[in-house]
Amino acid sequence: MSATAIEKEIPSEPLLTTPSPIESPEPELRNSVEWSDSIVSHLKELAHHWELLQLTTQRELKIRYKQTALGAVWAVLQPLSLMLVFGIFFSYFAGMKGDTGMPYALFSYTGLLSWTFFSTALSFAIPSLITNSYVITKIYFPREIVPLSCVLAAFVDFLIAAVIFVGLLLFYHDQVTINFNVLWVVPLMIIQLCFTIGVSFFLSAFTVLYRDVRYAMPLVIQVWMFATPILYSASKVKEKSEVLYTAYMTLNPMAVIIDSYRKCIIQGLTPDLKFIGIAAVISILLLLASYKYFKHLEREFADLV
């Protein structure tokens, strides 16, 4: 066989391009067990996976409404239908009233809108580590992305459903006072996000250890809903007892958040800063503590889910 014939047998061109050698010439060895023990390094790693968080949030939204005829309309339909039901039964039949001078539809929708965000986020985030066990046991990535994307997806739903809220504001424009106090919405939303993420981190990690949480949660959410001024006014609690009201607003950040939304958007009042301060402190401390707890338990997730 001639030399040229031999050459022909060697594939003249590789099918694929060979990847360039790894960039950094002398990488530093890092201890993968201890390299992330502070919140700062956790956050750095999370920031590094920012795009993954975006993609998983998109995925959450996409799969939730894929193959549904109404799609994202469901995000609106849930608080809207509850508002109609409660409007008919509680307001029309039972004669229940919201805050003075506030149309009941607008009053209850404010509460239902922010509550739906909270409860949807929890109901998706809490079992999320278990439902995603197929990835968790196969590939490493910061696990907080899983519950976090559930909360963010619920937040997007919340923003979509807020369109109806704006519609209601326009419809009842003569009974609504809009002024600079509306800007309180931004810190309130941040507090609510922190609180929701904090609860989600804690309970989703805890669920991995004890599956009981999954079954207890629907009940807890329902009881919590009644302990929050969604269908009734927080002022009703204040009328009964000042002490009870203080306890009520101190222990339940959701009560403060919903009550404040109404005050600052619909009534144009400055919300009660004392309670907002307490809610903010609780939410941030909860978020930090539960994040720490989550990252601590994270090491065992793949063994337990």
């Binding site: 060979t18 795009e51 993609l55 590939i139 991995v208």
Partner: protein, 428 residues
């Protein structure tokens, strides 16, 4: 320079605490622990999946992990991938790690192929822009152009795996962990996968992989680690470690395979009780190059096999055959007196037929042998001993490829080279 260092790494599981429990069970356990009688058992249900493993992987090295099922290979890979955390010891990694523990594990069935490429790439640590840049190449590699906008749940399992591997093969981590995923898709795609791994290797990537496919381990790895019961038994050159592995693990199982084989033998015999009526195979024995009886040789060694037979009637035009099967029952080679002109005219009532080969070509493994004694052209043999005789082959002269060929090489003298070329050009 090391890129991965394991320092006394152990992974311990408490058998009774595998999986999560309900609070009630946990309370029950706590109450039990309070009783003095049940104390002190704590250590008994501990199980080390990986125990005190020390290992340093060099940059750019391809390292293979072999061992029997449940030996802790995959656990070790999961530890490296940070999927699970060691109970004791330290793992140091210098750079990003991507794991192919299960191809396509990050896919979501509801999303399309296109969406999943981005999601999976991102889970594996690629940036969106990077995936976008490599998107066309990934799709081309997977051969899935037509179905890229179809939800993954409509894919066949082969398509699923192809897309998964295509994405994974285009990430560029410092360390790539591969667990038994080379055997995906059809033969064509498999060779493409292996080619790609080979390319990544040459590109300077550090690769750690777990496999039971010894020829692949032999071909791809620079170094092999043999793990048994969570501990490293041997580290070194592929050929050396693989032969230690064969010796310790496969051959230790002799008694159990022998039993299974006897069972099948019996079953066949009872169905075909006619075997052995007119003639019988009494034994088959193997001999090595020194003429000693043995059941173990190395690839490329001299092998002699002797079939001891006895006849009860007049036998005309007899044929003797030996068939070698791998443990998964694939026929590897067929030796017969029928096709290489060996005619035995007159057969004594009892005697020995000898097969002789100066360089036996089977690659390492355990082979079970059928011995057949029949008349040329007849359908029913006089005697058939199915999977009765065991021959073990250790790595020897060569272990790459499917079989070994005896070979002669020489450098042609210059004068001869010219004459060959001119002869060629006559035809050209």
């Amino acid at each position: 320079m090391s890129i991965v260092v394991l320092d006394k790494v152990s992974k311990k599981y408490r058998l009774s605490r595998l999986g999560s429990k309900s609070i009630r069970e946990e309370l029950g356990r706590m109450m039990n622990n309070l009783k003095p009688s049940s104390r002190g058992q704590a250590g008994s249900d501990e199980f080390y999946a990986v125990k005190e493993v020390d290992l340093a992987v060099k940059r750019g090295e391809t390292i293979g992990f072999i061992g029997p099922n449940g030996s802790g290979k995959s656990t070790l890979l999961k530890l490296l991938a940070r999927i699970i955390y060691p109970s004791e010891g330290k793992i140091m990694v210098g750079g990003s790690v991507a794991s192919l523990i299960e191809v396509g594990a990050g896919f979501h069935p509801e999303l399309t192929g296109r969406e999943n490429i981005f999601l999976y790439g991102s889970i594996m640590g690629m940036k969106k822009a990077e995936v976008a840049k490599k998107f066309d190449r990934i799709v081309e590699f997977s051969e899935m152009e037509k179905f890229i906008d179809t939800p993954v749940k409509r894919y066949s399992s082969g398509m699923y795996v192809r897309l998964g591997f295509a994405v994974a093969a285009h990430i560029n981590p410092a360390v790539l962990l591969v667990d038994e995923v080379l055997a995906v898709g059809d033969a064509n795609f498999q060779s493409k996968c292996q080619q790609r791994i080979e390319q990544l290797r040459r590109g300077g990537m550090t690769i750690a992989f777990v496999s039971h496919d010894m020829p692949a381990v032999e071909r791809l790895c620079d170094r092999v680690v043999f793990i048994s019961k969570g501990q490293i038994k041997a580290v070194g050159k592929p050929q050396d470690v693989i032969s230690i592995y064969y010796n310790e693990v496969l051959f230790a199982k002799k008694s159990s395979t022998g039993l299974a084989q006897n069972n099948t033998g019996l079953a066949i015999e009872s169905q075909t009780s006619l075997y052995g009526q007119n003639a019988e195979i009494l034994s088959v024995k193997f001999f090595n190059g020194d003429g000693q009886e043995t059941d173990t040789i190395s690839t490329g060694d001299k092998l002699t096999a002797r079939i001891h037979y006895r006849t009860y009637t007049q036998i005309e035009d007899p044929v003797f055959e030996l068939l070698f099967y791998s443990p998964d029952d694939r026929l590897y080679t067929h030796l017969t007196t029928a096709i290489n002109g060996t005619n035995i005219d007159s057969l004594p009532d009892e005697g020995i037929v000898e097969f002789d080969c100066s360089e036996f070509g089977l690659t390492p493994g355990i082979y079970k042998t059928d011995a057949i004694f029949s008349q040329r052209g007849s359908v029913a043999p006089y005697d058939l001993k199915p999977r009765q005789y065991i021959l073990k082959v250790l790595p020897g002269k060569s272990v790459r490829g499917m079989f070994y060929n005896p070979q002669q090489w020489r450098l042609l003298p210059p004068a001869e080279t010219i004459s060959v070329q001119s002869a060629d050009s006559n035809f050209g």
